[in-house]
Symmetry: D2
Subunit: 247 residues, 4 copies
């Protein structure tokens, strides 16, 4: 059974890549490409079962609500959501009997690194996070690394694991990096790289390294398609891909 | 509350390392060191709650049954178990109301790599396994790598994922390595290494790498101590650390 | 002083990327784009100082000779050269007082990995080569890996270093990979990867790993531009970038 | 021809490891083990051709001068040398027609990483250094990492290469690490690790990674033995293993 898919924000770089991925998927049909200014209605979506939304933070909530009102389920990749915005999407989806998936990261490898790091962290004495990006990135560390460190810290706190050992006494230039919730985070910027994250965990005599590489925009497509195939019938709001992936 | 621990096979290299680890653990007391020829009885175990068994395959089943009969729970690290042997340990433990943990690998990082690889494998087009060991190892690939590949293959088959893409037409010298249940496995032998495994998974635009390093024998101790702390009250036989670790 | 550069094979994927790189370089001017069938003459090259040739093996020697005859130096990226073809280019360049650079690989990182591996190999007991590519590649191992292994083997032989230790007795499925001149070579094929090579060297207690990643075609451009800037006045034929890079 | 070797500081951990390595080497004979307080004379050195010195910074210069006066060549692993101390060793060696090798690091892999990083650095837009150590280390970054960054910076300055690109605008917690001579250096501390260094270099579309692992003290032995075999006849002072290794 073919899933009818519309793309909102189809003129953007991510939106255009989603259009290509949907057209290449054997079980999907692209019914509409909408851009800024196009009305979001049942007709303009071409009778889509699911609409994928990649626009800008200032437009994303209104677009998502309109998608649900138009009778489609929503898969949203735009970032910058607040708890309040998410609450309004949840309420609208529940009221209308529709479903929305909103995820901060559609790279399956990134979702898995965070989940695996969280699961492994209570079993190791030491854990540190290294993120590597292209040198045009303006913020350090990356949002994904902050989120990873926070989830690691929470998992260790819940398991009663103490902070990792660190005898550092002199570090005049800050080589030990940032501490996010007690977890050291390091940011590398290198021409040629795109977006990469590595979590290192250590015990006496052993090390566990979990690493992901997003080489380009296409890395988000397997996650977007997975959400499109899974959104139907979930009901209300699903935040992140973890529950869809059984993590 | 202190756990009383006996070690069977205490003169061996692994057994000696276990004795050290038990003595260093604040919540444990070493009650006895037994070697080949020593009778395994309640008295000779020093009233141990748990006996850790690291001997040789030819002695391990008899030792484990004797531990259970002597009124202790068993944590067993010797390899080479058959289904029949495991069945006899399960029956004995259940009949006596005791518990046994038998694991093919006590390195937490190795257990996690296998479990994570299994969970991730259905979400990626490609997956290959690389194991690296010291050059004195006589078999290739390692048992852990074979087990990892089998679990990956099973998880992909159950999820209906096809074999990974591979256009190789000419490979006169076998550079593509072994195929274990359809998963390519590569074995590196290098002076200076001990035991290391790396699983690589690929999708369009992204890669996930899960790697573990066992630098020396001490890498097994966190897993042995975890089993000692968890065996009590589990009942019957627990195979591997996965369920103990909530994997 | 601006270098005038023509591109022969400008309609191909590599050629088109070279055109972009030349246009983006502040010290270069793109004077002509030639394709299959276009005559290669001083006028058609637009008075170029240097012509970059990326065509097909069947055309490359004739193109290169024509470039030299037309009064330009040549930088050639097409593969598949024989000793005889290289000899004719050398003779022609020397006769005309021109220079040609022909390299089997223009990725600087790949050139460096081979050179560094060769320099390091005599100092380590063990060395193995791992190459990783996209799954559409038809041959294994890669030409670069074969070349790397051969150079390693030669350097070790010249230094009187024995073969690396390897106690493998059972390897029923070929996990130990290919042996190229006595050096084990492993080939991984993974969706999402492009072209990557890793050389691992081991001694008691230490490991050296030299790795390069070519994420896409643009990885060849720094090497092509380096050759364009260096070819003038070298005289005759320069094979590979090693001598240009002082390796 | 067997080389007669004495060890000064034989009771220390490094000294004891050197004694084992010398005894295991087929081309060497251990003639004496000297410790703090033992006089260093031709007789007490047992007629050694070469004396290996691993003591403490406060004793090392006096020991080295005494070794040279006693008629042996010196291979020195103690750290903490000043230019003045080195000058006195050089003068003494030259005056007596003897030779001394003093190296800040005898791990061949570490020596090679520094040399290769220096050679590669001018060819890449970006370069960063990552060092990883056991968590008992009191200083960050490591001396080796500082030295590596300095050599990289010097090589780039001499080649006229500008600083690497970095658009970072917000980094409130210092995730970008230390800047040593304009090169970012990151320090990881992880239980289970010993001493590891990784240099990452990036260009458009490509990356070069040079990494070394010192798993334990034995990693210094191949370098010490190389120096023992090479010191004879060099004359004066040789600083570091680079020139011995032809780097």
């Amino acid at each position: 059974m073919t899933i009818k898919v519309a793309v909102v924000g189809a003129a953007g770089r991510m939106g255009a890549t989603v259009c290509e991925a949907v057209e290449a998927a054997e079980d999907m049909e692209l019914t509409a490409r909408l851009d800024a200014g196009d009305p979001i209605l049942s007709e303009s979506l071409g009778g889509a079962d699911v609409a994928v939304e990649f626009s800008v933070p200032s437009a994303s909530e209104a677009n998502t609500l309109a998608i649900l009102e138009a009778g489609a389920d929503a898969v949203v990749g735009t970032t910058g959501w607040t708890e309040e915005s998410l609450g309004r999407v949840r309420e609208t989806a529940e009221r209308l009997g529709r479903s929305a998936v909103i995820a901060p990261n559609y790279a399956l490898s990134a979702v898995l690194v965070m989940s695996f790091a969280e699961k492994a962290a209570p079993y190791f004495e030491s854990v540190e996070v290294l993120e590597m990006h292209h040198p045009n990135k303006v913020d350090a560390p990356s949002g994904t690394a902050i989120s990873t460190a926070s989830r690691i810290a929470k998992a260790r706190a819940e398991a009663g694991v103490p902070a990792g050992p660190d005898a550092t006494q002199t570090d005049p230039d800050g080589a030990r990096g940032a501490r996010i919730d007690g977890v050291n985070v390091h940011a590398v910027r290198l021409r040629g790289l795109n977006a990469h994250e590595q979590v290192m965990l250590g015990n006496p005599g052993e090390q566990l390294v979990i690493r992901q590489d997003s080489f380009d925009r296409s890395s988000f497509m397997p996650g977007v398609l997975l959400a499109v195939r899974s959104v139907r019938g979930r009901g209300g709001l699903t935040w992140g891909l973890d529950s869809i992936m059984g993590l």
